[in-house]
Amino acid sequence: MQAESDPQQDDLILAKQEGREALSAWAGWVMAPAAWALHQGIGYAMVPWLCALGTRWPYHALTVFAVGLCIGGALMSRKALRRSRHIRPEHSRMRVRMMALIGLMFSAAAFGGILVEYLPSFLIDTCNGVDR
């Protein structure tokens, strides 16, 4: 004979499961914008320093790091999206899908944002407008 399920107990189990998957659910939401913000903020602040140094390598390294962060966010979101197939009940599955999709799109958008800010820098002299 199958034991009757206790709805309150079920809720508690599901609440715990929700806590465990929260990290991957939010990954794209946090990592991608953080990547874009870091790239913009640090990139902006390092311009006078790049000029004094006479090289752009630190800036390229920063860009690679930021893009890596975006890719990390995208991968974690993709993982959440794949896992969502097995999640029950239906509305939890839809919620995980929504969050993962937004995480993926965020990552793509942040990647685009980083690129749009990165490419023009090749056309501009780092020392243009810097007080020396």
Binding site: E18, G43, P48, C51, H91, S92, M98, G113, P120, G129
Partner: protein, 637 residues
């Protein structure tokens, strides 16, 4: 949880009525003059926020008209130069800090618990505290104008103009202390809105079922949390420069005036979006209801809202293009400024698709939304123009910029706010606003607004600088300025009609039923105006449009087992809103008011002496102790 059938409240028998009466007594707010200072229910506090913000809007609007009167003809003498500067500064500051943000927060405080099926906010006393802080700070700030001691350095208070040397007197001190103080209210509201949205949603309302308006409020609250500390720090530093001779912004002593601009605009630019994002939520609610179909692209809209919130923090340097920053640095911000138009475009696309092919009901809220589309898109287009460094350097500090930001602020925030007022007034007051007056109001405001602000683009291109109290006849700016003034008067009549409508209809309006617009969200599932406890029984939801799906299902599920003799609301999990526990909420108390008065004494005193910092600190501390004194139910438990 229990199924209660299609009925929206307790059983209509003796026992059901008795239960409802008990809950209503538990959630009741004391009556009378002294009782007013003890209210903590979110519906009371939200209504007060909105009403106070509208009064401040009216005052700031009159100041706008005064400026337009002065500028209607060359060499006019309605206002002298110093008074003009004061009026301009108070107008800008009041519109931004005393009207726009608090009005949006007020609507959020009123609606969010209703929309998510909760009985109140997570921290009702903090809510009340925030309101009194805002009220006291706002009144003191505005009083400085009739007393002739108002700040006159513009709403962004640039140093060195606002340093002691160039702005002696109390004006800038009033600005720094009162703005810091008022921002405390914004922060308290943001914190509790976030907690309320994350933890008090009705069971079943997982994140993907949350109304778009609630998403918008969530984004707004996070933005406040990240943006406000920056202006609080900046104004505290300026306060210290002026009060105790620190030199943060004094270039000769090694300080940096540009630091002020960075700190101010790191707050100031997101600020515009803090106002705009909840407006997007209002627009979505109205569009869905008057198209009578679910929103197109829910996920895309959420993505767009959150993106707007994030990207808005990466634009601040576009206010500083002319300050001589490195070219490469500026290029980052030019790219980001152009980029923000993408999520805005996505939103507009979603709304158009929602409306496409629908049988739209052109009621007054919808007319405000259509005006919003026209005006906001124009403002957005000039926004993309000024985002570009070369163009901005031509029109910086001209009337082109004044035209641009009024198009986005009035179009992007005030018109949606008006839509929201017409849409939710029946819920808050229990009566409909007059339709005829509403239609006249939209028409006049739309025509008046465009007449007032469109010519300013041309004036700017002709080189008319902003913040001048008059101009010479030879400049040939007289006609367009006159046109702008006539437009401003028509606009004022348009908004005035809505103000009159709000008062008139409270007594004479047609009585509204629970859901007069056939809207899908939970705030319409209770009486109009709502019960003291919001919902006789807290609802459980099965999708994102419960009021449309309940009749199809033929039944409604509610939360059972909450006590009726104390203020309880359901606590649920963050992502899927699964029942977790019950929160016992505090009842009416005067302590938030007393604490706000104590803190005000400290802040106001700071204008005169740094010692008031200590007085305010200890005053607030003592009152907080009484405020947090353990409450009875916990001792009994």
């Amino acid at each position: 949880m229990t199924d209660v059938g299609p009925a929206l409240r307790h059983r209509d028998d003796a026992e059901g009525r008795e239960t409802l009466a008990t809950i209503e007594r538990t959630w009741q707010s004391p009556k009378g003059f002294f009782g007013w200072f003890t209210h903590v229910n979110h519906t009371n506090i939200g209504r007060r926020f909105v009403a106070t913000a509208l009064i401040f809007f009216a005052i700031a609007g009159v100041l706008g008209l005064l400026m337009r009167w002065q500028l209607s003809a060359p060499l006019n003498e309605v206002l002298d130069p110093d008074t003009y500067n004061q009026v301009m500064t108070v107008h800008g500051t009041a519109m931004m800090f005393l009207f726009a943000i608090p009005a949006m927060e007020g609507i959020a405080i009123y609606l969010v618990p209703l929309m998510i099926g909760a009985r109140d906010m997570a921290f009702p006393r903090l809510n009340a505290f925030g309101y009194y802080v805002y009220l006291i700070g706002g009144v003191i700030f505005l009083l400085s104008l009739p007393l002739g001691i108002a700040p006159a350095a513009g709403w962004f208070n640039y140093v060195p103009l606002s340093n002691k040397e160039f702005s002696p007197g109390l004006g800038v001190d009033i600005w720094t202390t009162m703005i810091t103080f008022i921002e405390v209210a914004a922060l308290t509201a943001a914190v509790e809105l976030i907690v309320t949205i994350f933890k008090l949603r009705a069971p079943g309302m997982s994140l993907n079922r949350m109304p778009i308006f609630v998403w918008a409020v969530l984004v707004m609250s996070f933005m406040i949390l990240f943006a406000m500390p920056s202006v609080i720090v900046a104004s505290a530093m300026l306060m210290m420069d002026r009060l105790v001779d620190t030199q943060f912004f004094v270039a000769e002593a090694g300080g940096s005036p540009l630091l002020w601009q960075h700190l101010f605009w790191f707050f100031g630019h997101p600020e515009v979006y803090i106002i705009f994002v909840p407006a997007l939520g209002i627009v979505t609610s109205v569009v869905v209801t008057f198209a009578q179909r679910p929103v197109f692209g829910y996920t895309a809209l959420v993505l767009a809202l959150v993106s707007v919130g994030m990207v808005s923090f990466g634009l601040w340097v576009h206010h500083m293009y002319t300050t001589g920053l490195p070219f490469m640095g500026r290029s980052f911000f030019m790219a980001a400024s152009a980029m923000i138009s993408i999520p805005s475009g996505v939103q507009i696309f979603c709304w158009i698709m929602t409306l496409w092919g629908a049988r739209i009901r052109f009621e007054v809220p919808m007319l405000w939304v259509l005006s919003f589309f026209a005006v906001f898109i124009t403002g957005g287009l000039t926004g993309v123009m000024v985002a570009s460094v070369p163009f901005d350097r031509q029109v910086h500090d001209t009337y082109f910029v004044v035209a641009h930001f009024h198009y986005v602020l009035v179009g992007g925030a005030v018109f949606p706010l008006m839509a929201g007022l017409y849409y939710w007034y029946p819920k808050a007051v229990g009566r409909m606003l007059s339709d005829r007056m509403g239609k006249w109001s939209v028409g006049l405001s739309f025509v008046g607004f465009n007449l007032a602000f469109f010519p300013m683009h041309q004036l700017g291109l002709e080189g008319m600088p902003r913040r001048i109290y008059t101009y010479l006849p030879e400049m040939d700016w007289g006609f367009l300025n006159q046109l702008a003034t006539v437009g401003a008067i028509i606009l004022a009549v348009g908004f005035g009609l809505t103000f009159w409508n709000l008062i008139y209809s409270a007594y004479r309006g047609t009585v509204a039923d629970e859901n007069p617009w056939n809207a899908p969200t939970l705030e319409w599932a209770t009486t109009s105006p709502p019960l003291n406890c919001n919902f006789a029984q807290q609802p459980v939801v099965q999708d994102d449009r419960p009021l449309w799906s309940w009749p199809e299902r033929g039944k409604r599920t509610v939360v059972g087992g909450l006590r009726t003799d104390r203020r309880e609301t359901m606590v649920t999990t963050l992502l899927d809103a699964r029942p977790q526990s019950v929160q016992v909420l505090p009842g009416p108390t005067p302590w938030p008011f007393v604490s706000a008065v104590a803190a005000s004494v400290g802040f106001l005193g700071l204008i005169f002496s740094p010692w008031f910092y200590l007085i305010g600190f200890f005053g607030a501390f003592v009152t907080f102790v009484f405020w947090f004194w353990p409450r009875k139910p916990y001792r009994e438990d």
